[in-house]
Amino acid sequence: QRAGPRCPSCGLPTLQPQEERALVLELAKQQILEGLQLTSRPSISHPPHPAVLARALRRLQSKKVAQMNQVETISFAAETDSFSTPACGSILSFHLSTPLHLPPYHIRLWLHLQPTLAGTPSIQIFQWGLEREVQGNQTLLAEHRMTTQGWNALTLPSQALESTGSGVLKFKLVCRPHVGNATAARHLLLDTAGHHQPFLVIKTQARAPGGDRAKRR
C-alpha cells in the first residue's frame, strides 16, 4: 500500500496509469476466457489456410438476422482417407472440441465438386466409427442428389453427431450413379484438397446462464 489518493469505489490505493492498464487487460483476458468457458487461450497447432477460412466464412453469411445465444461451429476436414474409388470414396474426419450442451438444430456438410460432372449422381453419407468399420454395419445418414458443380451444402440429421464422445467425427462418402447413367459416378470428382477442403457447419443453442443449477422444488 502506498500513501496517496484512494480509489473512490473500493477504498484501495489508486493505481498508476500503467498498472491500471495492465490490470484492465488482465481482467479482459479473464472475462473472455470465462465467457468462452476456457481455462487458457487455445494453442492452435494447425490453423486453417486463410483462403479456406475466408471461403468458409463467406458461406456462413446469411440474409437472415443472426439469432442470439446461438453457437455456430465450422469444422474443417482434418484428414481424408480415400478407398477403392479415389474420385469419390472418401472418409472425412472432423475434430470437434466445443462441447455441445444442447442438441444441434442445423448440421450441414459442405463439399466441392470439380466441374467434370456428367449427369447428376448422388452421394451417400455414412456415419463412420471404430465400431462401425465392419462392412454392412454402417449407418446411412443421408443421401443427396448432386445438382450443381462447385460447392454443395448437404443437410445431415442431428444423429450425425451421436458418436462424438471422443470429439472425432467420421463420415464415409460413397458416390452412386444416377439411374441410366452408370458412368456418372466415375466422372464425379470430390475435391478435398487445397482451397476446397470440405467443412461442417453446426448450429446449436448456447447454454443458458445458470443452466447447470438444479431445479428448485
Partner: protein
C-alpha cells in the same frame, strides 16, 4: 448514470476499448478486433446511493435509505454495473475449428450504486 468525464468523482461508466492485438490474441480471435471493456467507478455517497434512478435496484434504494438512517455504521455502497449486453465472438478453437458464439454480459452499458 452518465459516462465519466475527466475528474468525475461520482459513480459513472468508464469507457475503455481493449484491442485484441494488445492482448496478443489476434491469432485466435478472428472478429471483432477488440471490444468495449467498460467498467464502473466513482463514489456512492449515502445521499446518492439512496436515490431512485442512481441505485442498482429498488432493493438497493430501500437498503441504502435504511443504512443512511441507521445509527450503526455500515459498509459503503459500491459503484457496480446495472446493465450489460452480450458480445459476439468469432474465434479458432484448439482444433482449428471456427466458432461463433455470443458471450453474455460482456459489455457494461450502465452503472449504479449497490
Amino acid at each position: 448514470t452518465p459516462t465519466c468525464e475527466p475528474g468525475s468523482l461520482l459513480c459513472c461508466k468508464r469507457d475503455h476499448y481493449v484491442d485484441f492485438h494488445e492482448l496478443g490474441w489476434q491469432d485466435w480471435i478472428l472478429q471483432p478486433e477488440g471490444y468495449q471493456l467498460n467498467y464502473c467507478s466513482g463514489q456512492c455517497p449515502p445521499h446518492l446511493a439512496g436515490s431512485p434512478g442512481i441505485t442498482a435496484s429498488f432493493h438497493s434504494a430501500v437498503f441504502n435509505l435504511l443504512k443512511a438512517n441507521s445509527p450503526w455504521p455500515s459498509g459503503p455502497s459500491c459503484c457496480v454495473p446495472t446493465a450489460r449486453r452480450p458480445l459476439s465472438l468469432l474465434y479458432l478453437d484448439q482444433n482449428g475449428n471456427v466458432v461463433k458464439t455470443d458471450v453474455p454480459d460482456m459489455v457494461v452499458e450502465a452503472c449504479g450504486c449497490s
